[in-house]
Symmetry: C2
Subunit: 222 residues, 2 copies
DNA sequence: AGGTTGAAATGACCATTGGTCAGCTATATA
DNA sequence: TATATAGCTGACCAATGGTCATTTCAACCT
């Protein structure tokens, strides 16, 4: 009854298979953090894991299903970190700040979130996709509950806030995903533009506007 | 001095080359609207244009530079349509409604905007990228000017609004980019989730919150 | 009119990709 | 120790984006 599967041993029990799958995911995440989404190749991942390419496809139906799994794990991981950073009666600014800083700190979460709908989901079997969406719903509900307490909002308002924060996070992150142009070859106007789309301040400013907007709507509905 | 270049004729003058380049772009856009970004292949585009693949690469450095050009043209085209739809003293809701409906109506603009930073820009030469960013700045300024009038905002506020609308548009569009799941195979909770991320109402609601937020900030700064 | 020349166009070719599957082999069981 | 099951393998496939030596066309110059 060994709980570790050496790379040249076969994973026979369900436990061992789960372990191997997780080991592949961990290698994949490290590799992903090195090269990013586009340059990520299944052949190279096979080499890195010490397995044959065909074996990877015993554990994941497609490259995208692997990414979907990585995304799910990063979502869960991030939401725990975010939870831990929340406290009662936060200002909307502090809340937004915590949200964006924890999300940015996880190198996997945002790059995969951004590619979820228009890349990853397009090459994943539908039942797998459904289970992923259901996990997402569960996470949104959990985050909304914590949000409701932190921002003193009703449950319905908190759900609205969380969904909207997701949308805003995707939009605001976009600005950090361009090619790295550390070089000084850029004209000043272009540098200013890029600076003005820096994701964190952009996110925080607008998150505050939206949260305050949602609060106000509730008051005016009384 | 012919202003049309038959497919089996050579484009020799600068004019003819520009014409041919534009003809390729038009075929490419039609093809893109049929199959989308991922399935778009340069070999197939070559067949559709009646040119050899190598010839395409005389007119565009990479697949992505072609997409960047298509994006630029769709940005210009959309902003004209948007201008035409604006009038003096609009409500922020009417403004947001016009913005999102015109953007969605252009089948090319949003799908390319969404992929700009994390896909397209990563395979385009830097000088080309700079010129594209400068075109973007120009468009933002023009749209901001029209916005300033329509929403009765200062120029600075209008620029803030326009930039933020861009961010929100990208985030909100994401929800429409998933695989088409017309099939009834989806459980109810997942269907509800997808419905709640429908881009147009999501965009409008939050655009209003943000615009009103920007207005309020200005007042409280006096 | 016929030759020269430079540049536009070509398409076979290359490395690489995601994905498959017939065959191999490690291992639990009898 | 023999057998059967099933995990694993890697050569193979069709496709991709991109290249470049070669071909071909048309404008120019005798």
């Amino acid at each position: 009854m060994s709980s570790v599967v050496a790379i040249n041993q076969r994973a026979r029990s369900a436990d061992q298979k789960a372990l191997r799958r997780q080991a592949v995911l961990e290698t994949a995440e490290t590799y992903f953090l090195e090269v990013g989404y586009e340059a990520f190749s299944m052949s190279k991942l096979a080499k890195k894991t010490g397995l044959a390419k065909g074996t990877l496809y015993l554990y994941f139906q497609t490259r995208e299903e692997l990414f979907l799994t990585l995304y799910e794990q990063s979502l869960i991981r991030w939401s725990h970190v975010f939870f831990d950073g929340l406290s009662d009666s936060m200002t909307s600014k502090a809340y937004a700040q915590k949200l964006v800083s924890t999300a940015s700190a996880d190198g996997t979460f945002l790059p995969l979130l951004i590619r979820l709908e228009h890349m990853i989901e397009h090459n994943v079997a539908i039942p797998r996709l459904i289970s992923s969406k259901q996990l997402f719903i569960k996470q949104v509900e959990a985050i909304a509950e914590a949000t409701s307490i932190s921002l003193s909002l009703s449950e319905a308002q908190a759900i609205e806030v969380v969904k909207t924060m997701g949308v805003l996070l995707i939009g605001a992150s976009q600005g950090d995903q361009g090619p790295s142009l550390d070089h000084e070859e850029l004209p000043e106007d272009v540098q200013d533009l890029i600076a003005s789309f820096s994701s964190e301040p952009l996110f925080i400013k607008n998150a505050v506007r939206i949260i305050e907007g949602i609060r106000t709507e509730a008051v005016s509905n009384i």
